[in-house]
Structures are given as structure tokens and as C-alpha cells.
Amino acid sequence: MKRRRLFVTVLLFVLASIVLAACQKKPQYTCTDPKGCVEIKPGEPIRVGAALVFSGGAASYGIDSKRGIEIAIDDLGGELLGHPIELVAEDSQCNPEGGQAAAQKLAADKTIVGVIGTTCSSAAKNAAPILSEAGIVMISPSNTAPYLTDPATRSPFYFRTAHNDKVQGKVAAEFAYNELGVRKAATIHDGSVYAEQLANVFAEVFKQLGGEVVAQEAVNVGDTDMRPVLTTIAAKGPEIIYFPIFNPEGPLIAAQSKEVEGLQDVKLMGADGLFSKEFIEVAGEAAVGVYLSSPDFSAFNPERYDAFLKKHEEKYGEKPISAFHAHAYDAMMILAEAIKKAAVVLEDGTIYIPRTALRDAVAETKDFQGITGNLTCDENGDCADPHIAVYQITSATEWDTTDPEKSPVKIWPK
């Protein structure tokens, strides 16, 4: 019986201390936001979620973006409004179930202010509605599927800093038809949502302009020997091959196309998924002459990107490993900016962030000086710089985005 008394005493003690702790809380601000507010007491961190892909074959995109976010946090001095920023990274994988699970997990955590992610559009399809329901604003650094910002299907709390495929695919097609003057095109995608969509948009627009799409081919992620598919394409006699895919399949296509008879003089064009130094490292000499579409770097101060690269190398011991670090950096910065705008700061340092207000603050982002361009969020959640430029690689060794005269050289619009 003695034992039982001990047990009861301890239990009482526990309950008492909990009640005491609960009584200390005194509300000073009444939240009227329909989706509620995040309360951050002095010394507590502002918690930002990152739902990106960290496992499987696509992991390098997610890790790349995560590093971009971390550098952004460093650039903010690790804090916002006197509160440290804490990044909560969850693996959203590259499929709907991963997106759903990661979103549910983040949505269950009431201290999460906003989420950067997801990496893959397929994951975003499921994550966006869940996070919107929970009132968590979500900015994706790399989703490109038109579906996500289509007014009919978009979730209200969803934004992105990556380019809608519709925009970029159209620019590429127009450039090829009008500027390069080619009339026969071939496309290659890799079975990813991004590439397939881009290739299709390109083909559609190219046909509308009056061109002919002679081949629409596809490779698989992980393929290394591209000669057969290139030989197939060569037989159709295109003047340009559009391959809006990723590393390393992209540079392999560029490199091996030089080894396939009939393709030596065909023009090659990729998209922003390939716009990184790694492209020339793998493709070597074959990279020279390749066109890549990308946000227009001359629209803003490109030295910032260089500073970013320096910090990246310092922090992670290597160059960015994929294409969406800068987009992620900008996404984090936009979020931080919006938090500053929306937060209600009390005297003792406690801040309240009304969720809908935060969303509106993000939506109002205008002429934001990011490293991927001048960002303005439109009413559907597309925040990427609408100015897309086409660059041409002119050197197999040099990669300098700060100087428009050096490779890659900006050639369109002039």
C-alpha cells in the first residue's frame, strides 16, 4: 500500500505543476484570423518547414534546395524579428504519398509558420491542399506543373518561385522558331512531370507557330547510353533538339549527340533544369553551342548569385548539386519578408503571425530582388520572374553568369 501512496503523490505533483504552468499563460493578443495565428514567445524559434525530396534518385534536387534555404537563413542572420529561425525538413519524396505524408506531418505541428516545398509537382498535388487547409503558406522552389497554379485547381496558400512550364516552354518554342529560324524540331523528355510537360508545351507552341515536330522521344532517368535514341532522332532529320531534362541525362545527350552521325550540326536546347556548371563538366566540349533557357540574369544584380555560390562552397564543401538552390533561396527570402510584414509584435517580444495575413503578404510580393530575378507573385501563385532569357554556352570550361559577355552568353531577348 505504501507503494501506491508514492504513486499517487507523484501523480498529484505532476498534475499540479502542469496546472501551474498553464496558469502562467496570459493572452495579450486576440487572434481573429480565420486560419488562426502562430504564437511565438520570446526566445522561441520561428519554425519553417521544408518539404523536399531527400531520398531516392531525385534526392539531389531536394538537398540542393534545402541548402539554398539554409543559406538564406544564414543571410538573414539566423533570425527574424528577434527570434531564431528553425528549419524543419521533412522528406516529401517525389510522389503523391510522400507529399501527403510530409504535409500531414507539418500540418499537425501548429508551430510551423510556412513551408518551402515541395520539390516534385506530383508531391505538391497532394501537399498543397492539406497545407492550405491548415492555413500554412507553401512556396515551392521547383514545382513547374501548370496544374498547381491553374485557377481552377490551385490551392489558396500555394506559391512557387519556379517557372510554370507553360511560360518557359512557350519562350523556348518562340525562340527556336523566330530567332533560330528552325522549322523541324525534336523533343526528348525523361518521364518526369517537369520535362514531359515542357516538351509537350514546346511541341504544341512550335506547331502553332508553323513548325514541324518530327520526333517526340523519351529516355528514362538513369539511362546513360543515349546514342540509340539520338540515332533514332537523327533519322528524322530535325534542325533542333529540345531536351528540357536534368543532370546527368542532359549533358549525356549533349555529349553523345556529337558522336551520332547526322546530329553534329543540329542545334541543342535545354531548360533551366540544366542551367548549372555541371552541365559543361559532364558534357565537355560538346556543351559549346548549346542553348539553355533560364531566368534573365541581367534583370538584376548577378553578383549576389556569385556571393551565394561562395557561401555555398564554404558551407557545404562543394558547388550546388542541382538546379533549384537559388529558387529555394528566394522562396525563403520571400517568406521571411512576408513574415516581417504580417507579424504582430508585442512589447515583450512575443509575436503573433496570423496565417491568412501571412498568405496575403506573400501574395502581395512585388518586384522582389531575388537571385533568380525580379519576383512578383501573380494572383495564381506564380512568383517566378516572368522574364526568361535564352543563353548560349560558348566555352567548355568557363561558367560565369555575372557577365553577359562571358559564357553562358545571353543571346535572347537582345
Binding site: A22, I63, D91, Q93, N95, P96, E97, Q100, Q197
Partner: protein
């Protein structure tokens, strides 16, 4: 003396290598961001502590029991831990001058700071050493705690830390007041940790008493005069079941993530039950099981989505219940169709052929060829959800009930078939196909039935999966799913039905909860599989010798005179 030195260095080297691996892979640094107990210890430090503790335990384990608490034990354990400290210290020192970062991306200044506890110079190394000595000493302290308390205390600490790690699961389930008090956003508060340890110690201490009482009740209930007790026990049992069944509905708002996880576990359990019939009962090693899962999921999606204009020309979108039988039928038929060629092959060839089938299905799904029908790389959105009248099943906790019912059906089918003529035929084929055939068993139809039943369950799981997700993408159906299902069978215990549940919880549930450490999820998963196979190859819950229902009925009391093994 010499053997002790050898033991010390051996243990130290093993521990040191593991510590090196963990640090250079980046685990320590990544986990260090998570504070398990506020301002006291991070998960990364806990990991290093675990290595120190493990090294000491390993070294002590090699010593005879009585010598562990003597001076010898102290020397060996702490010496081994010091070797670990030495190795980590050398790493911390070498990172900068040798530019290790050129090769090992995680050999960063941040790592050095963690290893030296933010203290530059020699003092930092001393701190590292002291920290590891402390963790090694824990193993020795354990030896000095008197008997029942040593275990109780260590379990309590372990469970408390686990609660801190799995905060995302536990905290939302508690009322806000309590969870705010016990948990920080990343782990436990200091008071919370103390309280939880105390509570767990008390619970674990009284648990044996309680269990013993329960057992005496049960025994009493079986005596003729135990009717009232029996009645009370039955009521308690029913109430417990009822509460369990109602739990999802009670917890629905707080536990949306929990049920997200449980749904996924449930779907894997359904698949596991199906594959258990194919591999566990009939012994047919199927590595392409994801094919049937994909067929179920895609049939459901194609038939019910408003998208896909090509298909919609011919068939209007169906609702969930209209599409379900078709999905099941198709997966059943595909099970038979894929089963036919497989009949001719055995063993590893069977494995590779089925693997090939799985890949073929995935490639077809993603291909431009079938894009008008299957949606290609973009997948399909707008899959129907189950409806009951005007009620639409929408939330994950609502799906959980449907999944639960399906699991129930799966278990029912499995148990019924296991002890039937067909089940025996499967087992015979598994054990020795030649002899089975010589016994007049039609191995063709037995194998095809196994494939069909397995495919049916996988198709069901797939249909639920796609409906629950509302949209599906081809990348979800890769070979990893087949491997995962097979592994959960083996981790749970081949052929054992409770093993399927345990295996799914261990291999799907746990990694799901640790989603934030996903960078290391498969690393840990792989290591766990290897360790599991090395030390417990029969699984966590192996199939025990059973006496079937009919046997119990037929032989009745005679069973007691027979040896059961």
C-alpha cells in the same frame, strides 16, 4: 593483461569506426539540430553517447561476469571508450589541415564544432573525451544498480528518450496544456523529461504486479466458480475493443498525421498479407509484387477520374464502389496471367522474372504509349473516394476504418486458407515441389491460386491507395515497394500473420515517423535489415507451432496427451 588490452583496442576500434561512419555520413551534424531535452542534449550527441555506451557494453560483454565490476572492467570499458574519443579527436584535428572536406563533404567546420563542444583548442578535445567517458561510465553504473531497478530505470530512460524523438507522434495526442508542458517543438522540456522518467519507472515497477494479478484473474475465471470474474473480464475486453475502434474518431483532429501513418501501414499490411500467401505459404519468391498494386491503383484511378478524355469517350467516370470490383477482377486476372509463365521457373529465376514483370508494368505506366489511357508521367488526379449514401470518406482517419476492415478480411482469408486443403498444398509445394506433385497435388492450379489471391489483396491495397491519395503518379510504383513488402514479411517472420503487422509497423510506420531524417532513413533501414538477419533471421514474431481449429475440435482432450512442438 595483454588480452585485456587487445579487447580494449578491439572494442575501441569497432566503436571508433562506427563513430567515424556516423559523423562522416553527416548523421551527427544533421541530428544535432534536434534538441531532445531542452538545453541539455541533442539527438546528435545522443547518437555519440550511444556509440560510447555501446562500446563499453561490448567490451564488458566480453569479460566474465564477475570481473566486470572489478577494476579490470572499469579499465577495459573506459579504455575502449577513450580509443573512440581518440579516433574522433584525431578526426576533429585532421579535418582542417588535411582538407578532408575535399573528399568528405560532411567533414565541415560545423562538425568540428560539434565534436569539440564549441570549444576551441585542447579544452574541446578534453570535453569530447569527458563526454565519451561519461557515456561509457553509464554502462558501468548500470552494473551497480540493484537488481530490479537497473532494468526498470534503463527502460524508463529509453522510453522517455524515444518519446522525445517521436515527439511528432505523441505530443499532438495529448491535451495542449500537458503537451506544451512536457514537450518543446523539437523534444522534451527538462521538467518533462524528469516527470516522464519518474512516471515510466513507476509504471514499469508496478507492471509485473499488475500483470500477475491479471493472470490470476484469468486463472480464477476458468474455474467453475469464476463466472462473475469471467463476465467482468469479458466486459472489460469488449470495452477495450470498443475504445480501440472508436479511437480514430476520438482523435481525428489531433491525430491526422498519426492516421496518415497508420493508413500507410495498413495498406502495407494488406499487401503483406497477400505476399505472405505467395511467398510465406506457397514459397514463390515474388519480387514484382508492386505490379498488382499498380494495377489495382491504376484501374481505380482510370475508371473514376474525370480526366483522360480518351477513356472518357467510352466510359463515363464511375464511383468508387462500381470501380472496386473491376479493379479487383483485373488484378486477379493479371495475377493469373503473370502467374502462367512463372510456373515454369523456380527459385531465383522466379525472383528475377517477377522483378522484370514489376518493371515492365512500371515502364508501361509511365510511357507515352499508354499516356491517353494511363496519364503517362503526369499521373492521374481526381480519383473517386468511397461514399456511403451521401457521406464521402475523405479524411485519413475515416479511411483507416475501411483499411481496418480490409485487413480483417485479409487476415480472415489467410487463416481460413492456411489450414485448408489448399493451404496444405501450398505448404507442400513450398517444402518440396517434386514430392508435392507425386502426392497428386496440381501444382499449376495451386500456384496460380496463390498468385491470384496475392494479386487480389495487392489490387485491393492499390485501389485504396489511389482513392486515398486522390491522385497517383507512376513514380510511386517502383521496385522499392516490392522489396519493402518482402522485407516486412521477413522482418515480421515469414508465414506469420501477426508478423505481417509487426513488420509493417517496424518497416513502414517507424521510418514514416522519422520522415525528417529521411536522408538517413534508408541508411538505417539497410543497416537494420542486415543486423536483423544476422541476429534474428526468423523475424520479430515468428510463426509458432499451431494446432489448427479442426484438429482442436477433432482431437479435443487427446491433444493434451500429445506433444506439441
Amino acid at each position: 593483461m595483454k588480452t585485456q588490452l587487445r579487447l580494449m583496442f578491439r572494442a575501441g576500434l569497432i566503436g571508433g569506426l562506427i563513430a567515424l561512419h556516423l559523423t562522416l555520413v553527416g548523421m551527427v551534424e544533421a541530428l544535432n539540430k534536434r534538441e531532445i531535452i531542452e538545453d541539455i542534449i541533442t539527438l546528435g550527441q545522443l547518437l555519440l553517447m550511444g556509440v560510447g555506451l555501446g562500446t563499453a557494453v561490448y567490451a564488458l560483454g566480453k569479460l566474465p561476469r564477475e570481473r566486470r565490476t572489478q577494476r579490470e572492467g572499469w579499465w577495459v570499458a573506459l579504455g575502449a571508450v577513450s580509443v573512440v574519443a581518440l579516433i574522433l579527436g584525431l578526426l576533429a584535428l585532421a579535418i582542417k589541415p588535411l582538407n578532408l572536406r575535399f573528399m568528405f563533404q560532411n567533414a565541415s567546420p560545423a562538425l568540428v564544432r560539434i565534436l569539440t563542444f564549441d570549444t576551441p583548442g585542447v579544452l574541446g578535445l578534453v570535453k569530447l573525451w569527458a563526454f565519451l567517458l561519461f557515456s561509457g561510465a553509464l554502462a558501468l553504473v548500470y552494473l551497480y544498480i540493484p537488481q530490479p531497478w537497473d532494468r526498470t530505470l534503463s527502460y524508463a530512460v529509453g522510453i522517455t528518450l524515444l518519446m522525445g524523438i517521436l515527439r511528432a507522434l505523441v505530443a499532438p495526442l495529448l491535451p495542449d496544456i500537458i503537451s506544451d508542458f512536457l514537450f518543446t517543438p523539437s523534444g522534451l522540456t527538462q521538467i518533462g523529461a524528469v516527470i516522464l522518467v519518474v512516471l515510466w519507472v513507476l509504471f514499469l515497477h508496478y507492471w509485473p504486479d499488475f500483470k500477475a494479478r491479471l493472470e490470476t484473474w484469468q486463472k480464477e475465471a476458468q474455474t467453475p466458480q469464476g463466472a462473475p470474474i469471467r463476465r467482468r473480464l469479458n466486459i472489460a475486453f469488449l470495452v477495450a475493443i470498443l475504445v480501440l475502434l472508436l479511437l480514430p474518431a476520438i482523435l481525428r483532429d489531433k491525430g491526422s498525421y498519426l492516421f496518415e501513418v497508420l493508413d500507410m501501414v495498413g495498406i502495407y499490411i494488406i499487401m503483406g498479407l497477400g505476399l505472405n500467401i505467395v511467398v510465406g505459404f506457397a514459397g514463390l519468391l515474388d519480387l514484382g509484387y508492386v505490379a498488382f498494386f499498380a494495377i489495382g491503383a491504376y484501374t481505380m484511378a482510370v475508371l473514376t477520374t474525370p480526366e483522360l478524355p480518351f477513356v472518357r469517350q467510352y466510359i463515363p467516370p464511375m464511383n468508387f464502389w462500381e470501380a472496386l470490383p473491376i479493379a479487383l477482377l483485373l488484378s486477379l486476372v493479371s495475377g493469373i496471367l503473370l502467374g502462367v509463365p512463372v510456373l515454369k521457373t523456380r527459385g531465383d529465376y522466379l525472383a528475377i522474372i517477377t522483378l522484370g514483370f514489376g518493371e515492365i508494368i512500371r515502364l508501361l505506366v509511365i510511357s507515352d504509349l499508354l499516356k491517353p489511357i494511363l496519364g503517362g508521367a503526369q499521373g492521374i488526379t481526381g480519383v473517386a473516394r468511397p461514399t456511403f449514401g451521401s457521406f464521402v470518406v475523405n479524411e485519413s482517419w475515416e479511411y483507416f476504418y475501411i483499411i481496418l476492415v480490409t485487413i480483417g478480411i485479409g487476415i480472415f482469408i489467410s487463416t481460413r486458407l492456411r489450414d485448408s486443403r489448399l493451404g496444405r498444398a501450398w505448404k507442400a509445394i513450398r517444402e518440396d515441389e517434386d514430392v508435392a506433385v507425386a502426392m497428386g497435388i496440381d501444382h499449376v492450379s495451386a500456384k496460380l491460386t496463390a498468385f491470384a489471391t496475392g494479386a487480389l489483396l495487392a489490387g485491393m491495397a492499390g485501389a485504396l491507395f489511389s482513392s486515398r491519395l486522390y491522385s497517383i503518379a507512376p513514380h510511386s510504383f517502383n521496385v522499392l515497394i516490392s522489396i519493402n513488402v518482402l522485407c516486412l514479411l521477413i522482418v515480421g517472420g515469414m508465414g506469420s500473420l501477426p508478423g505481417v503487422v509487426v513488420g509493417a509497423l517496424a518497416l513502414v510506420g517507424l521510418p514514416e515517423l522519422l520522415r525528417e531524417f529521411a536522408e538517413f532513413r534508408l541508411l538505417v533501414y539497410g543497416a537494420a535489415l542486415v543486423i536483423m538477419m544476422l541476429y534474428k533471421p526468423e523475424g520479430l514474431w515468428p510463426e509458432k507451432a499451431r494446432v489448427s481449429r479442426v484438429a482442436r475440435e477433432v482431437f479435443g482432450d487427446r491433444l493434451k496427451t500429445l506433444k506439441v512442438e
